[in-house]
């Protein structure tokens, strides 16, 4: 996802469709999430968060995201901030990774599984005396389902040793759901882009047939469809052959 237009579209679609009920955070909210927090919640959510007093303590957890995909990282970061986690740091490139981990001193770390530097991260936890030792989530066997959900969504999670897993379950759930939603949207975007490309090439093939054989637009389209059905190929593939052939015969 290097084309920023596409990235913006994903973020926009994500905001519009999946998380419509949360208003976007303003600049101030980013600076003072605790102050802004109650204003972001519906009265019910507000009461809920007040009732569970412990919840506020959860939000002091320090979270580090290591993700090379800028869009996905910002989607998850935003989700975490909306949920009131103020201490979220994001690492996008791998320069001085250890230094950045030491500075962030995280309780929970997320890394995208496409990232080959996952092995680097794990070894830093193993040997470094400068960082507290986070361990891969979760270390007891009952949580295989949770690991499976995380691996399927493409996120790896590490928690500092000694942190109770109930404390981080909701953050992991959020990471998993946002990673899943992101890849669904990415697939959707890829499909939309493909459809657009297909339509362009079909239009060009139609134009060629109309010009060369004096057909109406409808007849040209019918001809392409029939050829595709007969040859058991996609319409766009047949259209591509027509365009290529026309270029060669020019």
């Amino acid at each position: 996802m290097h084309d920023t237009g596409a990235a913006d579209r994903v973020v926009a679609a994500f905001r519009a469709r999946r998380f419509r009920r949360y208003p976007p955070l303003g600049q101030n909210a980013r600076l003072h999430p605790f102050v802004a927090q109650p204003l972001q919640l519906s009265p019910q959510q507000y009461l809920c968060s007040r009732r569970r007093g412990a919840k506020m303590a959860e939000q002091t957890l320090r979270i580090l995201l290591v993700d090379q995909n800028v869009t996905r990282a910002s989607i998850l970061e935003e989700g975490l901030r909306e949920a009131g986690y103020a201490n979220v740091a994001v690492v996008r490139d791998m320069q001085n990774l250890l230094r950045r981990i030491v500075d962030a001193d995280p309780d929970v770390i997320f890394i995208d599984l496409e990232n080959p530097n996952r092995d680097v991260l794990e070894q830093m936890f193993q040997v470094s005396r400068c960082v507290r030792r986070p361990i891969a989530m979760f270390v007891d066997h009952s949580d295989t389902d949770m690991i499976r959900a995380a691996v399927e969504s493409g996120v790896g999670a590490y928690v500092v040793d000694g942190l109770r897993k109930e404390r981080v379950k909701s953050i992991l759930d959020m990471a998993v759901s946002r990673f899943n939603a992101f890849s669904e949207l990415r697939d959707e975007l890829d499909r939309a882009r493909q459809e657009l490309e297909d339509r362009k090439i079909i239009d060009r093939a139609k134009g060629i047939l109309m010009r060369e054989r004096g057909l109406s637009e409808e007849a040209a389209y019918g001809l392409l469809r029939k050829a595709a059905m007969n040859e058991n190929r996609r319409l766009a593939e047949v259209a591509q052959s027509v365009v290529t052939a026309a270029r060669l015969l020019k």
Binding site: F125, I135, V139
Partner: protein, 378 residues
């Protein structure tokens, strides 16, 4: 029957690729789906959660998973080894120059290289300069243990006098060029890539540290092996025949071209071919040197899962304090490597299966690792 196998793009995924591409899997009614992965941690996790039925794994990784070091404890077994050797140690041009000033030369043996390195390390220490940094690919890997073994044999404490870090293979050459690291231990083709790029010199193949040293294995969950004994045996036979195919000199050019494809290793075919032939160019602009038994896919029982290999890995985990000794662990380690499953699957087609499960492992410094030592009362 479809079997999903994960692999990392390295020379020694060869048997998996050949089994899938040259009909050896089909002969056993298996359909192999090979999935290329980006990190060893992903391989481990996807084997553990069942995305992969089996995978191209680092030998010590299967032991670490079985013991649950740093991650979920899930019994993983190694019923088949994916060849011997294939690793080397490469240093930056600057470090090589310092080593030659301290007595190393292209003709030096391993002990003299190590002694020269020790002098470099000591002089940096006296000058209060930053310690040297070496990279390897994973904490539970032969690369880590072989590098440590060599350093320690020269009196260099790998935890104090040098820094050891993990860098994924595709980034090693850039890190060496940028001066972030002074050397690394990795499988081919990455050593040759560094020499070819003019940023490094190969000091030694690790088979010089530990002759006929193991490398990757086929790893799978114990539970999968118990549920699918027939498929596992078929897979072992397909891989065995594929490894025999890889061993034959007349197939090397074809194998190099096959592996060079981007969906497999994606490195230049001529570099892969030279690694297959053991003809490595050790320094830029020099002639290739022939390294005997550099990478062995099938010969010398290269596919047999020696229990002594697993025990040596465990001994290294203890030596470098990755884990504390326990008698339970020891028996878990012994049952990670599965020569019994190897014999059961291959008895009819492999006439040279060893009758014993362990052997004495010998190292360049004259010491031997006798797995019987673990039987001595502690």
């Amino acid at each position: 029957m479809k079997v999903i196998l994960g692999f990392i793009p390295l020379l020694d995924c060869a048997s998996l690729v050949v089994a899938a591409e040259r009909g050896f899997a089909a002969q056993e009614d298996l359909e192999l789906a090979l999935v290329r992965e980006t990190s060893w941690a992903n391989i481990r996790d996807r084997v553990v959660v069942g995305h992969f039925d089996a995978a191209h794994m680092l030998g010590p990784m299967t032991v670490a998973s079985t013991l649950g070091i740093g991650h979920v404890r899930v019994p993983v077994i190694a019923p088949f080894a994916l060849g011997l050797g294939g690793n080397a140690i490469t240093v930056s041009l600057r470090l090589w120059e310092q080593m030659t000033r301290e007595g190393s030369s292209a003709e030096s043996d391993l002990a003299s290289h190590a002694a020269a390195l020790k002098r470099v390390v000591t002089s940096r220490e006296t000058a209060h300069r930053e310690p040297l940094t070496f990279a390897m690919v994973y904490p539970f890997s032969c690369h880590n243990y072989e590098l440590r073994y060599w350093l320690a044999a020269a009196g260099i404490d790998p935890d104090r006098e040098v820094r050891l870090i993990v860098i994924p293979p595709p980034f090693l050459v850039d890190a060496l060029r940028a001066g972030q690291i002074d050397g690394f231990c990795v499988g081919e083709p990455w050593n040759s890539v560094a020499v070819h790029a003019g940023v490094g010199t190969i000091v030694t193949a690790t088979t010089a540290i530990w002759p006929f040293s193991p490398e990757k294995v086929l790893g799978c969950r114990l539970e999968w092996a118990q549920r699918h004994p027939k498929q596992l045996a078929s897979l072992q036979r397909a891989l065995y025949r594929a490894s025999q195919w890889c061993e034959r000199p007349e197939h090397r050019a074809e194998l190099a071209t096959l592996l060079a494809q981007p969906r497999y290793v994606g490195a230049p075919a001529d570099l892969l071919r030279r690694a297959l032939e053991g003809q490595l160019t050790l320094t830029t602009h020099s002639k290739p040197t022939h390294l005997e038994n550099f990478y062995v896919p099938a010969q010398h029982n290269a596919t047999f899962p020696w229990v002594s290999h697993a025990l040596w890995f465990y001994a290294q985990m203890l030596r470098w304090k990755q884990i504390e000794f326990s008698a339970d662990h020891l028996s878990a380690v012994r049952s990670t490597y599965r020569p019994d499953l190897y014999r059961a699957a291959l008895a009819s087609i492999n006439p040279d299966i060893p009758a014993v499960d362990s052997k004495i492992e010998r190292f360049f410094d004259g010491t031997a690792f006798d797995p019987e030592e673990f039987n001595a009362p502690r």
